[in-house]
Subunit: 421 residues, 2 copies
């Protein structure tokens, strides 16, 4: 790759709460698609580098969507008067079953990928469905977008309708290994991620077999954890001998710094300690917290405890793929938790929610989410001309971007140095 520089008004956050505001600066992308630094004046050593001047467009690191369901794309906004368990059986499972049809999968996944590509998202962890073929179709499509993605074939061999359920643990393991053998190393941008749906959907035999597969193939893992009180009680019934919901995953070797668990609304103190010890990532999905009325994840506390946290859109528990809305929603639910539960210390600040969307979630993919030397050059250009006022400083423009910018305001995007549009 030929090195180049972008010029514009850069904003990123090196640590939770800290904000770097660099108007009219130059970000250099090196031959490996990594950021070589941000400079107010382009250094001599980079003289002659091709420069793309984005004028006074805002440039922020790409956002990472740590949890979403491609097979629920058509359901966005549907069934929101349901609660989690009924919503799964009445709406979600019947829809996911349709992805057994390759033509259907090609059409819907194509629409999903196009919308994901257009917004703030540069990297994502994505659930497909239980179908191996459909999952590979999604991976084929996503790889072409240029976005960096982890995609999972969903495992579920119990507590799901027969039309969707994997026959048994043996079939789940065999089908999953076949899927891994067919997809590992096959793509430039897309990688497989092990995806036991959640504890209630996986027999102990399946969870153990998947743990063995994880060790054998060295694949990362994504799942759900502590989303609703009803679900937590159900897991307690299903696994009476386990210390907690999180410990069920841990016993199968499903935690670690290459594991991301969605929601984590009701973590007990031992679970917090366990996730921290393992370096496991939390995918905070605030829209889903509200839509499925699950409750509010105490992200302020988790952040102060030093847990790894990013944001997720969680369609169709969430109703939009727009990560800008996820940032606003993270701020909203944090404020309400503070007010309704007097959580100390107070709620997230705008710069902290922005951190979760960029550096926080980016860390799951390695060095991503900051404009710092050695980080992947993921850049999103946001046109704020529609609401910018003369004389607005970059700090004001940052606040307005957080509350007003939507996917349609993203005018250019780079992933690992490669320009997508």
């Amino acid at each position: 790759m030929r090195p180049y520089a972008l010029r514009g008004d850069f904003i990123w956050t090196p640590s939770p709460g800290a904000l770097e505001l660099r108007p009219g600066a130059y970000a250099v992308c090196d031959e490996n698609g990594l950021c070589a630094g941000v400079f107010d004046v382009l250094p001599e050593s980079y003289a002659g580098l091709p420069v793309r001047d984005l004028g006074d467009t805002l440039i922020v690191p790409g956002y990472s969507d740590l949890h979403t369901h491609a097979a629920q794309y058509r359901d966005m906004g549907l069934g929101m008067d349901h609660e989690l368990i009924g919503w799964l059986s009445d709406l979600t499972y019947p829809e996911e079953a349709r992805f057994a049809d390759a033509a259907f999968a090609r059409e819907i996944y194509g629409r999903f990928a196009a919308e994901l590509r257009a917004g703030f998202t540069t990297r994502a962890c994505i659930f497909a469905s239980a179908h191996r073929e459909g999952t590979e179709i999604l991976m084929d499509i996503l790889d072409m977008t240029g976005l960096k993605t982890f995609v999972g074939k969903v495992n579920m061999d119990r507590n799901a309708p027969d039309y969707l359920r994997e026959r048994d643990a043996a079939f789940a393991a065999e089908d999953t290994e076949r899927w891994l053998s067919e997809t590992m190393g096959r793509y430039e941008n897309t990688k497989p991620i092990l995806t036991p749906r959640f504890v209630p959907s996986c027999t102990p035999e399946a969870m153990e077999a998947l743990g063995a597969i994880r060790r054998k193939w060295g694949v990362p893992v994504q799942s759900h954890l502590d989303e609703t009180p009803e679900e937590v009680a159900w897991v307690r019934e299903l696994c009476p001998d386990s210390e907690s919901y999180a410990h069920v995953y841990d016993a199968a070797g499903m935690l670690g710094p290459d594991a991301v668990m969605a929601h984590c609304i009701y973590l007990t103190d031992p679970e917090v300690a366990l996730l921290k010890a393992r370096g496991t990532f939390i995918a905070h999905c605030p829209a889903s917290n509200m839509n499925v009325r699950s409750g509010i994840a105490p992200i302020r506390r988790y952040l102060d405890e030093g847990l790894n946290i990013g944001l997720g859109t969680d369609i169709s528990g969430g109703h939009t793929l727009d990560m800008g809305q996820a940032v606003r929603d993270a701020l909203s639910v944090s404020r309400l938790l503070w007010r309704l539960r007097e959580e100390k210390p107070p709620h997230l600040a705008a710069a902290e929610a922005f951190y979760l969307a960029t550096a926080g979630g980016g860390a799951f993919f390695g060095k991503a989410g900051k404009f710092e030397p050695g980080y992947a050059f993921d850049a999103v250009a946001v046109d704020d001309g529609g609401w910018r006022d003369p004389g607005d400083g970059l700090d004001i423009r940052f606040q307005k971007m957080i509350y007003r910018a939507a996917s349609r305001n993203v005018v250019s995007k780079y992933v690992a140095g490669r320009r997508l549009f």
Copy 2:
């Protein structure tokens, strides 16, 4: 006005929770700009009526925004890490002070009016600033939009910076009467509404004088009530002899079916009884509930108590003028209140939030917000082609509209029979 008919897929709600779904129907607008009914087949008596066929566009009643601040338009999204009182002094009051400048007012109010005209909103109750001249500029501009609006010159003669505060009660009364004499009956679409900012900003003398003005001129009134615990405690200090915050307004004759109070998050039982007895409207502003971290208004309970309720965007406590977002936010906060406070009966359903935005708030303006005979013909056409799936029934399209439609999806709008675009 020449009668005509609109053809399209109509959705409205006759009562909380009930939904009328009328695909391919005809709505007739009579010579007075009132709805004559919705018909699956155009009756003989209307043969020859000009028909505008909107195809399979969704047509819903116009939304009423019962509470917003035009003078805070530029502040949307700013200062959200503040809380109410500090947010007023550090951000809001300095901005409102600029509306003493007529040229500034003309520019910003013009942008506000243009955005309001483009979205779901057909009717609105709007705070200007304490400046009479600026308020009249806003009324001039709003009248030209064709939207039906109540606009208030804000009264505040205490607990506000000198640069914004009205000198004293006598000046407040005199300036307000002059404003009323200059604006009452002057506009086709815009009317003045008495606007004591809130109890802490008005001396007892001012409140009493405004009450007398309200009786003399027969004008409606808008204000704020029970927004945050800190504010409620402050009012208790300021008015130790009053039974409650609401009773301070009542003593001055500020309640009634022509009065709308924003927020009402912390109403006591006597206050609920008082508002109900007076028929006073509540403007529920869910985005503001979250942004200013005020808490969550228990709308489920108020609705079941039979109170009059509509929705408000409350910029810039709210961060958007998009009433579609207000509907989503009303659903979100209701669900969280149910989950975090176990409020019984459960949270609002989508059709109920839609009711608040249309018929609920519309009632403040008389007969508005339904496609029923005798109701103002306020119609908003929404293009849902961007997310509609083949075979989606009107019930599914309604749910998707609630969660996906934004101002930009409004393709045509009628207010009191008049087509705006």
